[in-house]
């Protein structure tokens, strides 16, 4: 259902959409039934001259079953939903598949910084590639992200990946995702982080291996320091407006 609005661009996006759909259909069924009964009762039992209301205590077993059966049904559907939700949660948040790439994600007021390890595969070396508010990824490879924050809480959220994780200052939170479609999309900070929260936008670019290689070459030729300072200044200007 969510795919109607947004492509499912990561490997686990479909699973999350499926939890949504299962909840939607079970809820829609019961809601329609309950709401229908509710509306029907209102019309059926409108006050009529000479027809008194019935005296029903609802304390007897034969009467109570009208509420206890539906509530067992609710319980059964709850269990179904719990099983689905927990399994997807486990896959997305707990069970990390081995990484092809690692990227450090740093939230700060009000920009995202992404540090790629560069050709040597290690972060914090001279050949790191740093980008601000743009995240270039290679399609079909598994990424681990190391999420950090330098000041307040932020939330790293890419709707097309169905990915969301709060960043907490003082902690490094590791998670994973695997892009499966090429394209470019928005992402938004999802936790209020001060007056610039509304402009803490970024773009994610998912590229084929060849395009990604070309981008890496180009990025390494640039001086990342300059780029990032310019970007931060631009952000500050937008907030000041």
């Amino acid at each position: 259902m969510i795919e109607y609005y947004l492509v499912a661009a990561s490997s686990f996006a479909r699973d999350i959409d499926m939890v949504f759909d299962v909840v939607f259909w079970s809820v829609a069924f019961w809601f329609t039934l309950t709401f229908g009964a509710f509306i029907w009762l209102i019309f059926k039992f409108r006050a009529k001259e000479g027809v008194p209301a019935q005296y029903i205590t609802g304390e007897e077993k034969s009467q109570k079953k009208y509420i206890s059966y539906p509530h067992f049904a609710v319980l059964i559907f709850d269990v179904l939903i719990i099983v689905m939700a927990v399994r997807v949660w486990y896959d997305v948040k707990q069970d990390l598949p081995p990484a092809d790439h690692t990227v450090r994600v740093i939230g700060q007021q009000w920009a995202w910084t992404f540090v790629h390890p560069g050709p040597d595969g290690k972060i914090d070396t001279a050949d790191d590639i740093t980008e601000i508010d743009e995240l270039h990824l290679q399609v079909d490879s598994t990424y681990h992200y190391k999420l950090e924050s330098t000041d307040v809480l932020h939330s790293f959220s890419i709707p097309v990946f169905r990915l969301k994780q709060d960043a907490i200052p003082g902690r490094v939170i590791t998670g994973w995702f695997k892009p499966i479609l090429t394209g470019e999309w928005d992402f938004q900070c999802a936790e209020i982080c001060g007056i610039g929260h509304g402009i803490m936008a970024a773009r994610v670019f998912v590229e084929t291996p060849a395009e990604h290689e070309a981008w890496m070459q180009q990025a390494m030729n640039q001086q990342p320091g300059q780029q990032s300072e310019l970007q931060l200044a631009a952000n500050a200007a937008t907030v000041g407006e």
């Binding site: 609005y5 006050a47 000041d151 938004q188």
Partner: protein
């Protein structure tokens, strides 16, 4: 204890009821009904402020950058402050004072058949502290730096450090106002609980207590048991802001997530604290206007207790993706989905009560039925968010926002209108204009749905909350569905809000008109059973002219042994 007092204040003698000055009658009154009115009208005034804030930020969202009439341009800082204080006001200064304090104060002594609260002066103190808290909150909008803009959840480090939130005074005053408000409701709550436990009329057994009183009492207990840790948290946050401690500052060994636990340990039971009184009000109304006994009174009561206990075990579903241990999510998914069982049961009971009834669709009944219908939507959309797997995507989107407005709006607004229109004849001795009431009802309910249904779709399409201008996000500009764009949906919501806010004029006009020139109500215009309808309308100071005795439960409507279709609780068999 005070046996002598009982003698000197024998019922039937209003020896304390002498001529009172304006001040002692309206401002410093200890009469529970006057204090209830003070809470009611303070709450309604705050609702107007909260509604105005909603108007300002919805206008900004529909027409980014426009000069909003009566407000001006909405800057990012203004926007954050508006949404923060809209949430804070609507929950702490509207839902709480109106549903718990106003209805609790008005109904508890009247419905259990006594003359006042057990501690009238503490009751007055409670309102005074509440009023002070409202003044402090309003003051926080005008201090240098502006009002606090860190969301009503006030997560540190944003709320703790002025260099991050840029509102040093606003953040502190916000916190002080909230803490004062808690103190006011602790005092009020203790009064409610002890009054209901001890001051019941002769013969009123536990199962003879009207459901609304039970629910207000359980809500007060829930509030009392859950707010303590947040009061401690507020002290810690205050010290972080002003003394330089580091309880929530990770740079110096603190932990920002601790606040989230303290906040939501209170914040989730708080939902039930305001929900229960509204459910109670609805129970009174649907039984009266369908002339039916409440279906399975005892089951409802046990369900209320069950909900209360379970509500303490679900708080971390607000923190699934907040960086807590991912294994915790499993536990809280289970508890969260389990709490749907008692809540669904409550809805089933109310619907079952309608069966075999003789339903009159007047204004209070319309509101009560609307409560059930709208709350059902709020309830079922909560399942999406309680399921941890789906919450990864939906967390902090407009889906969440639409969901909790479908719970809080029925509670705070529909519940209040239901109760107010139902007890208006008792409060003011006049009938309300039913036709105007219905017009107001439809002009509120239809726009309400048109505000929030579009927001479900925006949320499902990935639009996040608390962002002042979506023009920065190209993906959130294009077509959404049915030929509408994202922006069209935002505009529909805003136009609907304008209609809904405008319709409230009808309500205030109706109140004033009915108060002045309404038809006299008489003691029991609805032919209802509970004790408040025995007193004159409006009840005098001291409420009842004689000591009441209770012989049966409050819902003996259409009893087969009787010609009349109601059976007042105090009427001997």
């Amino acid at each position: 204890m005070a046996e002598s007092a009982e003698v000197s204040h024998a019922p039937g003698h209003d020896d304390h009821h002498h001529e009172e000055s304006f001040w002692s009658k309206y401002v410093f009154s200890t009469d529970h009904k006057m204090i209830a009115m003070q809470y009611m009208f303070t709450g309604m005034a705050m609702a107007l402020i909260g509604g105005f804030f909603a108007y300002a930020f919805r206008m900004q969202l529909a027409f980014p950058g426009m000069d909003v009439p009566f407000f001006g341009t909405v800057s990012p800082a203004d926007y954050n402050s508006l949404v923060t204080n809209h949430g804070t006001i609507m929950i702490f200064w509207v839902a709480m004072p109106v549903l718990i304090a106003a209805f609790g104060n008005y109904l508890i002594p009247l419905m259990i058949g006594c003359d006042d609260m057990v501690f009238p002066r503490i009751n007055r103190l409670s309102y005074q502290i509440f009023l002070l808290s409202a003044i402090v909150l309003i003051a926080s909008f005008f201090v240098p730096g502006g009002g606090f803009g860190g969301a009503w959840t006030s997560y540190p480090p944003l709320s703790a450090k002025p260099e991050y939130n840029l509102t040093p005074l606003g953040a502190t005053l916000w916190l002080v106002a909230v803490a004062l408000e808690f103190v006011a409701f602790l005092l009020g709550g203790i009064n409610f609980i002890t009054t209901a436990m001890n001051a019941r009329a002769k013969g009123m057994k536990l199962y003879d207590i009207p459901m609304v009183i039970w629910m207000i009492v359980v809500a007060s207990i829930l509030f009392m048991a859950s707010v303590g840790p947040l009061i401690a948290g507020a002290v810690m946050l205050f010290m972080d802001q002003n003394v330089g401690t580091a309880f929530f500052d990770p740079d110096k060994g603190g932990d920002p997530v601790l606040w989230q636990h303290l906040f939501w340990f209170f914040g989730h039971p708080e939902v039930y604290v305001v929900l229960l009184p509204a459910l109670g009000i609805v129970a009174e109304i649907i039984t009266t206007f369908s002339r039916k006994k409440l279906f399975a009174y005892r089951t409802v009561l046990y369900t209320v207790f069950g909900t209360g206990i379970l509500s303490f075990t679900v708080w971390a579903h607000h923190q699934f993706i907040a960086g807590v241990d991912p294994r915790m999510a499993h536990v809280f998914t289970v508890t969260t989905l389990l709490i749907s069982v008692p809540i669904a049961e409550m809805c089933f009971v109310y619907i079952a009560t309608l069966y075999g009834g003789s339903i009159t669709l007047n204004t209070p009944m319309l509101w009560a039925l609307a409560f059930i219908g709208e709350f059902l939507i709020g309830g079922v959309t909560g399942i999406f968010l309680g399921a941890s797997g789906a919450d990864i995507y939906l967390h902090d989107t407009y889906f969440v926002l639409a969901h909790f407005h479908y719970t809080f709006y029925p509670i705070a607004i529909i519940g209040t209108y239901a109760g107010f229109t139902y007890w208006f004849p008792k409060m003011f001795g006049k009938m309300m204009d039913d036709r105007l009431g219905r017009i107001h009802f439809w002009l509120t309910i239809i726009p309400f749905n048109l505000i929030f249904i579009p927001l479900f779709f925006l949320g499902a399409a990935g639009q996040h909350r608390r962002i002042y201008n979506y023009e920065h996000f190209p993906d959130l500009q294009g077509p959404l569905m049915l030929g509408f764009t994202y922006q069209d949906f935002r505009e529909i919501a805003t136009y609907s809000l304008l209609v809904m806010l405008g319709a409230q004029v009808i309500f205030f006009y109706n109140v004033i008109k009915s108060w002045i020139s309404g038809e006299a109500a008489g003691n029991n215009p609805w032919k209802a059973n509970s004790l408040e309808w025995v007193a004159t309308s409006p009840p005098p100071h001291g409420n009842f002219s004689e000591e009441l005795e209770v012989f049966r439960g409050p819902y003996e409507y259409s009893h087969p042994d009787r010609d009349e279709d109601y059976w007042p609780q105090n009427e001997p068999a």
